[in-house]
């Protein structure tokens, strides 16, 4: 087994086990910390796929900011008892799990059977080399071909920021005007 494949299997195992723990562990704070571990695993998987810049951004954005917000909110709630961790009813729960498992099987089967029909495109748009070259190409692509999406994203973020401040200052919010 080469180092690359060993690394993949190790990271895949860590990510999957952490992902399962997010769903199965009853204490929500442990759940959030397991999700953080999963994010770090996913970031490492991005690095094995050669997307170093995206791996770094994943660490900064997800593992460093979004999940810290989740953990902070959970600690503020300070829930002493969890009334019902999982949904009531064993039969409905089993049906849900069975549906999800079937979907997983469909997806995995579909991928395995259709991979050989996929062709690589004739033109290559990326030189998968050192991180800096790829970052430069990524930036160029973002600002030329996807400029509309980029600007729309900027406007979306502005709207979201204003919306969250408005939510906090509304009648039931944390910073409501009395």
């Amino acid at each position: 087994m080469t180092a690359d494949s060993f690394l993949f299997w190790l990271l895949a195992a860590v990510t999957l086990v952490s992902g399962l723990s997010v769903v199965l562990v009853s204490n929500p704070i442990y759940s959030a910390l397991c999700l953080a571990m999963s994010m770090v695993g996913i970031s490492a998987l991005f690095a094995t796929l050669g997307a170093y810049f995206i791996a770094g951004v994943q660490m900064i954005v997800y593992a460093g900011a979004v999940l810290v917000l989740f953990v902070m909110v959970l600690m503020l709630f300070d829930l002493k008892t969890e009334l019902a961790t999982f949904s009531r009813g064993k039969i409905s729960g089993l049906i849900k799990i069975a549906t999800v498992g079937t979907l997983a099987g469909f997806l995995a089967g579909a991928f395995s059977m259709s991979i050989e029909f996929m062709e690589k495109p004739a033109t290559k748009t990326v030189v998968a080399e050192a991180g800096v070259d790829m970052s430069r190409n990524l930036g160029t692509l973002l600002f030329t071909k996807y400029i509309l999406g980029f600007e729309a994203l900027g406007i979306l973020l502005l709207v979201i920021a204003i919306g969250v401040v408005g939510l906090a200052r509304s009648k039931g919010g944390t910073h409501a005007k009395h």
Binding site: I29, Y52, G56, M59, I60, A63, V132
Partner: protein, 375 residues
């Protein structure tokens, strides 16, 4: 890691040495802090144990190691014990990515004098240093103490707020040097100041080619943001003694407390290393390029290997001096400025530093665009 066994072993030993370097610098820093703060406050620091009080830290370490190991009754054991161990991770990973000296050419091999050379250097370092918030949160929650939790929430909110100003103030430098890689940034700061503007090369010989002369505002913002990131005064309300006992590490004693301090000093070292790399030319000796230093040493010794080794050593010593300057400034500021109140702190981060960092980014982009065309 390397192509053959020799290179792999040397790289592994290098990783261990860089880790040990960071950990062993902590006692020296603590001594510096206690003596230095003593002199600033017009008193002697510890000066009984050993010459100049240097053995005080050894005595302290023995004291910490022999203390009773306890945990509070209301504590969540797993998080309580995991948090101090986690404190070491961001500082160690970040410090290993900073170049400490010029690359050493030994025969056919080239060894970079750093833990690992990463193409997207600064993005990686920002990513791992943002993991520091988890240490604080785990320690605060795991203590089972209301006041520790409050301190932890405040400290982590402060951390994620100042990460923004930290990242944005660096964007100007990244645009100017056109790379994320720290070694390339240092290589671009060699020699005396020269740059291209409007098609001509402007060069002066009385200034080194450091980043601080190109981006002074970014230097000030970055330095202030790193104070907030490592929870040092004047931004350490979360662990301020008068307000919250000791904040998120109230319930920790003994060796676990030492680990928190190693983590905090590790953070300081990464911050000082980054300041030296971006703004003070990294390991470069001022006014010289790496090639000039190499030729200088080649005049003394015969073999190219030994000259390269001496060059790396000289650069490493220079980097240590610059690191020491910034670490001393960290300690100096701690005993000079009063502490910020929490709302003043958050206002400063969001309403002052973030807009200034954005303005710096926009201005840098405009200037770089304007001077790159010969009008």
């Amino acid at each position: 890691m390397g192509s053959d066994a020799f290179e792999i072993t040397v790289n592994c030993i290098k990783l261990v040495l860089v880790f040990l370097l960071m950990v062993q610098a902590v006692p020296i820093l603590v001594w510096l802090e206690r003596r230095g703060s003593g002199f600033i406050q017009n008193r002697f620091g510890p000066n009984r144990v050993g010459p100049l009080g240097l053995m005080q830290l050894l005595a302290d370490a023995v004291k910490f190691l022999t203390k009773e190991e306890f945990s509070p009754k209301a504590a969540t054991k797993l998080l309580f014990y995991a948090a101090p161990v986690f404190a070491l991770i961001p500082g160690t990973l970040g410090f290993a990515a900073i170049p400490l000296g010029s690359p050493l050419k030994w025969g056919d091999y080239t060894f970079a004098i750093q833990g690992y050379d990463i193409g997207v250097g600064i993005v990686f370092i920002l990513g791992v240093s943002s993991l520091a918030a988890y240490t604080i949160l785990m320690a605060g929650w795991g203590s089972g103490n209301k006041y520790a939790l409050m301190g932890a929430l405040r400290a982590s909110a402060q951390t994620i707020s100042y990460e923004l100003a930290l990242g944005l103030s660096i964007v100007g430098i990244i645009m100017m040097y056109g790379t994320f890689n720290l070694s390339e940034m240092i290589a671009a700061q060699q020699g005396t100041m020269h740059f291209q503007a409007f098609g001509n090369t402007i060069a002066t010989s009385w200034l080194p080619n450091w980043g601080i002369f190109y981006q002074p505002l970014a230097a000030v913002l970055f330095f202030a943001a790193t104070f907030a990131e490592s929870n040092r005064l004047p931004f350490d309300l979360a662990e301020g003694e008068a307000e919250l006992v000791a904040g998120f590490h109230t319930e920790y004693g003994g060796f676990k407390m030492l680990l928190f301090f190693i983590g905090e000093y590790g953070h300081m070292m990464v911050a000082s290393g980054l300041m030296a790399t971006f703004f003070l030319g990294g390991y470069n000796i001022p006014y010289t390029t790496t090639e000039q230093v190499y030729q200088f040493f080649l005049g003394f010794v015969e073999s190219a290997n030994a000259a390269s080794a001496l060059t790396s050593l000289a650069h490493f010593i220079m980097f240590t001096v610059k690191l020491g300057i910034f670490l001393w400034i960290f300690i100096w500021v701690r005993w000079t400025l009063p502490r910020f109140r929490y709302d003043q702190l958050m206002d400063l981060g969001w309403k002052t530093m973030l807009p200034w960092a954005l303005a710096n980014t926009i201005l840098s982009a405009l200037v770089i665009f304007a001077v790159s065309h010969s009008w």
